[in-house]
């Protein structure tokens, strides 16, 4: 069994309790500079409001902190350690240089309310990022305010709504394909619209007849992911936009999959009206175990007046200013100007690659996905056999008869030394295996991933229980998620004395 696993060997990791369990009274991990003004008695100054103790708060040395979090870190898989083929997440290399420049004095330290003339460095970074992203998307105007993709979606939908309302035509529904990411319908609800599901056709793409049927004067627009969540380019995109536009609707494009398009095609030419980007996907800003992200929203001229305020605007004299005077704006979606530090990193990424490099990265990402697809297609069911862009989606149909599901295959992939692909998404695929290698994997690593996936397919036939009970090499085995939800324990509490 284990000789099949070439990419990894189990190794020792250290056990580590919760930080609270390391705590001992009187310890500290930070010492302050001596106070250089007269000390005030907090108790006297605050009176009734004075707090005597932060119960349970840890007391530990700096070394304790270092060891604790270093040990914790060794329990995580990471891009730095290996291929991370998590579909729809674009887990590409996060250049370390970007971390360095984001911490430069000023960029890492300027206060958001610094007078504009003193923070031109930060404002120019924002302006340069905007300009580059507009060129890449082919859109007309942009806001970097949304904090992640989902907030970009909401912002875009609010803009659609504001535009239609000005036309005296508020409408009720947004069409959302059944293959869409969960944030799409969730954002629709918050925008005050109702999500109207749009069935995909046998190609896994938008069903034009169905779109014609559903598109009415009650429908404000369509939210479309392109390439879609199957990794397939929606070839009818222009026709789709036309159908929506003829009935007075607008088209939102979820740009989570821009890694398939940068330098190759500009969504601005597709006919769409508004889209978001995920800087933490396509533009390499690190995921950090679940954020920060950044979800810039880019629009065509029709929607420009509704962008969140303030907008970042270059002046004829080369300076950059914040424009708050935007009477038709949908408002503000986040305090200050969004996740500024992510714009710094995204800009560093774009500048490092340059135009040819960006295109090369896209080509590599698409080539890698097609290579993986081609080499495992004899082992896994491919429900939608169309040309792939940056990712490919298989189903667990062939393994299911042996009682092995996509989640099991994913867990077994961990034993082989890889982070799993995305499981169970998109929902239109029964037991989906969604694989996105990105450009950050060379052939040697892809071949190892392919070997692992092929080997697991074989294991599923020969010894399904081995796969069903995986992972076998991690410090914890499968966790009881049902138990966790039934009686949630969401914090540490001191043991009763």
């Amino acid at each position: 069994m284990t000789n099949r696993i070439k990419n990894a060997t189990p190794h020792m990791t250290r056990n580590e309790d919760l930080i609270f369990e390391r705590s001992k009274p009187g310890k500290t991990g930070a010492e302050l500079r001596p106070l250089d003004v007269p000390a005030r008695s907090a108790e006297r100054t605050l009176g009734d409001l004075y707090r005597r103790d932060i119960e349970g708060f840890p007391e530990i040395s700096e070394l304790d902190v270092m060891r604790h979090f270093t040990r914790l870190s060794t329990w995580n898989y990471s891009i730095d350690a290996g291929v991370y083929p998590l579909g729809s997440c674009t887990m590409k290399y996060n250049p370390r240089l970007n971390e360095t420049v984001a911490r430069f004095a000023g960029l890492g330290t300027d206060h958001p309310y610094t007078p504009e003339q003193l923070s031109q460095g930060c404002l120019k970074v924002l302006a340069d990022t905007q300009r580059a992203l507009l060129e890449i998307t082919g859109m007309d105007a942009i806001s970097l305010q949304p904090a992640a993709g989902a907030q970009g979606e909401l912002t875009g939908l609010l803009m659609i709504r504001a535009c239609l309302r000005e036309r005296g035509d508020a409408r009720r529904f947004i069409l959302v394909p059944d293959s869409a990411h969960g944030t799409n319908p969730a954002s629709v609800t918050i925008s005050g619209y109702e999500a109207l599901p749009l069935k995909s056709d046998s190609r896994g793409c938008v069903d034009l007849a169905e779109l014609e049927r559903l598109m009415s004067t009650e429908v404000a627009g369509l939210m479309l992911t392109n390439p879609n969540t199957l990794g397939i380019f929606e070839q009818d995109i222009q026709k789709i936009c036309e159908i929506v536009h003829i009935k007075g609707g607008l088209v939102y494009m979820d740009g989570a999959n821009m890694n398939a398009l940068v330098g190759v095609a500009q969504p601005g030419r597709f006919g769409i009206d508004v889209m978001h980007l995920n800087l933490h996907k396509t533009f390499s800003t690190p995921h950090g175990g679940g954020g920060p992200g950044s979800g810039p929203v880019a629009v065509k001229r029709v929607l420009e007046p509704y962008l969140p305020a303030p907008t970042v605007e270059e002046q004829p004299d080369g300076s950059v200013r914040l424009n708050y005077d935007r009477p038709r704006s949908v408002g503000r979606v986040r305090a200050f100007y969004g996740n500024f530090g992510m714009a710094v990193r995204a800009l560093a990424y774009i500048l490092a690659y340059g135009p040819e490099g960006l295109r090369q990265a896209t080509e590599d990402a698409v080539l890698n996905a097609n290579y993986v697809k081609e080499r495992i297609r004899e082992c896994y069911d491919l429900p939608y056999d169309a040309p792939s862009m940056h990712e490919c989606v298989f189903s667990d149909k062939r393994q299911e008869s042996r009682g092995v599901r996509t989640g099991d295959i994913a867990k077994r992939l961990i034993d082989y030394g890889f982070h799993p692909y995305t499981t169970s998404f998109p929902l239109i695929v029964h037991g989906a295996l969604m694989i996105e290698p990105t450009e950050s994997a060379g052939k040697v690593e892809l071949d190892a991933l392919i070997d692992a996936l092929r080997s697991i397919a074989q294991e599923a036939q020969e010894s399904p229980e081995l796969v069903q009970t995986a992972p076998h090499t991690t410090r914890v085995s499968r966790l009881d998620e049902v138990g966790a939800a039934r009686k949630p324990v969401l914090r540490w509490k001191p043991a009763a004395p």
Partner: protein
């Protein structure tokens, strides 16, 4: 390109394996008319040294050589070097949201610790593992209160951060909600009588910040009484959570939300920061955002996993409690490490320094002829002071001395012309404070003289 691992021979071999002659064939699925013919018009490619130069230029054009007395929702505190040593570890920096628990135990345990620290600090039962920032956390708290009460009226204190209020307005604009603003009293605290008159049986949530936007501390007991009498929920918002090391936590509130940037997260021109939301046990199932729970593996070992996912968008789609997916985990880790390093005594000592320094600055500015401290209630590390004359001119005089002297409040509060919001954390030295105070005195002299002249002429 240095970041790309593929060699040309790899590419050729892979193309060969999939039966294609050129990579361009892979893009033929995109209609020809939509394919880009020209190169993108973006700068680059830049080598590493060139990139450093590019951003050094941006750094030079910043305010990094100024002493800043700006707070207002973003606080500069000293950041121990251990934070970056840890958060730059690739295992934290370059991992995804921990869907695969067995190879994400490090992130999961750290988030469980974050949840615990926030709960301890706020006096709540449970906290989530982060939201985008304080402004969106305040909004999520409001939406949560609306779900819990099934009511659709919201009251926000006028002393809630103005940009937080704007975010709430943006999110609620199509929810059929009435938003009422409730004023502050002459003390700088919320006006209780006015609050009493504005809260009614349709009120879902009352949002009050403490220390509020003026830096003034609120007393929760009386506010809670007014709010709860009408069956509404009290949302306590915190932008400077360091205050909670010395100030009683808002245990009377139903939801405590806020911004944890203050815990060692770089000020970084407004983000990335880290929102949090804490509440009582009974409201857990209406919480937004990711939650980490403790559980056991098949051999009984303690472990952690994401839990109560049935609240979330990937399961509930249009019926989810929130649309949030990617959040701010790395910044939550940053805040966790910071809180652990300082620990119980360090955080209190730091809070005492902030209090002492702000009191010193407020007292000294209060003595400047023509200046005044309009709000009498206690503050933490921020306070409002009225300038002895035109505050734009005063700020310009301070800038000459390389000091950014505070935030002019007129921008958000037209009635507070020439009032400045001044924040003093531990990183501002006494020498810098004295320099700033000296400028105020110099500035006030001509003003005082012209008043005297006017009086003499009159």
């Amino acid at each position: 390109m240095r970041y790309l691992p593929s060699s040309d021979s790899d590419r050729a071999a892979m193309l060969d394996a999939i039966g294609k002659k050129a990579v361009g064939e892979l893009f033929e699925q995109i209609p020809a008319g939509l394919r880009l013919r020209d190169r993108l018009n973006v700068p680059g490619p830049l080598s590493e040294p060139e990139l450093l130069e590019y951003f050094e230029q941006a750094s030079v054009e910043s305010a990094c050589d100024y002493v800043s007395l700006l707070g207002a929702g973003a606080y500069a505190h000293y950041r121990p070097v251990v934070i970056d040593a840890l958060i730059l570890r690739g295992e934290f920096l370059t991992s995804y949201t921990p869907y695969q628990a067995e190879i994400s135990q490090g992130n999961l345990q750290a988030m469980f610790e974050f949840q615990t620290l926030i709960a301890q600090l706020t006096g709540m039962d449970v906290a989530n593992s982060s939201l985008y920032d304080g402004s969106t956390a305040a909004n999520e708290a409001v939406l949560m209160a609306m779900r819990l009460t099934r009511r659709n009226r919201v009251v926000v204190a006028r002393t809630l951060h103005p940009e937080y209020r704007q975010v709430i307005e943006t999110y609620l604009q199509h929810q059929g909600v009435e938003i009422a603003e409730t004023p502050y009293a002459s003390t700088g605290q919320i006006d209780l009588a006015a609050l009493e008159s504005v809260v009614n049986d349709q009120t879902a949530a009352v949002v009050v910040q403490s220390p509020n936007f003026f830096g003034t501390l609120e007393s929760w007991a009386k506010i809670a009484e007014v709010v709860h009498k009408r069956g509404a929920l009290l949302v306590s918002a915190v932008t400077e959570p360091l205050s909670l090391a010395l100030v009683k936590p808002p245990i009377e509130a139903d939801i405590v939300c806020g911004e944890a940037q203050s815990f060692g997260v770089p000020v970084a021109y407004g983000g990335p920061y880290v929102g949090f939301l804490a509440t009582k046990e009974q409201f857990v199932r209406q919480m937004p955002g990711r939650l980490v729970g403790q559980t056991r593996d098949s051999e009984g070992r303690r472990g952690y996993c994401l839990t109560l996912a049935t609240r979330e968008q990937h399961i509930r789609r249009e019926k989810a409690t929130s649309n949030i997916c990617t959040s701010q985990s790395l910044m939550a880790l940053n805040a966790t490490i910071y809180m652990c390093l300082l620990g119980k005594s360090g955080l209190r000592a730091l809070a005492e320094q902030n209090l002492s320094k702000a009191c010193y600055a407020a007292d000294e500015l209060g003595k400047v002829p023509g200046a005044s401290l309009p709000f009498a209630a206690s503050h933490f590390n921020e306070f409002v002071v009225k300038a002895p004359g035109d505050c734009g001119e005063l700020l310009a005089a301070l800038r000459e001395e390389k000091v950014i002297g505070g935030l002019p409040l007129e921008r958000f509060y037209p009635e507070l012309k020439d009032h400045l919001l001044v924040c003093v954390t531990e990183i501002v030295s006494r020498r810098a404070l004295d320099r700033m105070i000296e400028v105020w005195h110099r500035f006030s002299r001509p003003v005082a003289e012209s008043i005297a002249d006017a009086a003499a002429v009159g």
